[in-house]
Amino acid sequence: MKNKIKVFRAMHNFTQEDLALKVKTTRQTIIAIEKEKYTPSLELAFKIAEVFQVKIEDIFQYRKENL
């Protein structure tokens, strides 16, 4: 799952800590999502999209795994 959280964070001038507090998660989770090591739940993805006031697909793009 590709995502543009880092870009949107920079646009809104948010730190990872700020975003974590807004979506009620830990900074480690935000770091893991940004590094694409962890795919967030649908609920968390919606919360992140809500914070940046954009659609979920503007931040997260599904990428098929190469088999």
Binding site: A20, K24, T25, T26, Q28, T29, A32, P40, L44
Partner: protein
């Protein structure tokens, strides 16, 4: 010296009264774990198991109290997922090792050592109990999440 003690106590009370950061909570948790470890080792040396039991209970209560004071998020969905995966892997490794060990003990115990055979039986019953608890919890969570 007395001033230092009073100052430390006042600082500690101040920390406990207000909400705390995750870092402070982690330091205090480390202190509590050290306290429990020292109490348990002392209780073993003194042969006083009430001391160990009471220190564990006290430690749990203090940890619960501190958790309520932390304003940061302690456990989120990623932490739960990690804990779940660790639990499943622990279950698989534990049951495999216990099952294999009990089989070996029972096999070699029958050739002369009654103690080893009994230990093998105890371990095999323990393995069956762990598998039983896993199956019951698996059924419960399957029902809870839609099956």
């Amino acid at each position: 010296m007395t001033y230092c003690k009073v100052s430390f106590t006042i600082d500690l009370l101040f920390i406990l009264r207000r909400s705390m950061k995750l870092k402070t909570y982690k330091y205090l948790k480390l202190l509590i774990v050290a306290f429990i470890s020292i109490s348990i080792s002392l209780s073993i040396n003194l042969n006083n198991f009430i001391l160990a039991f009471s220190s564990i209970i006290l430690g749990i209560f203090i940890l619960k109290f501190l958790q309520a004071k932390v304003k940061d998020i302690l456990i989120d969905e990623r932490a739960k997922m990690i804990a779940g995966q660790a639990a499943v892997n622990t279950y698989m490794i534990t049951t495999s090792v216990l099952g294999f060990t009990s089989f070996v003990l029972m096999f070699f115990g029958r050739r002369g050592s009654y103690f080893l055979e009994s230990l093998g039986y105890v371990l095999s019953y323990l393995t069956i109990f762990i598998i039983f608890v896993y199956v019951v919890l698996f059924k419960y969570f399957s029902k809870k999440y839609g099956d």
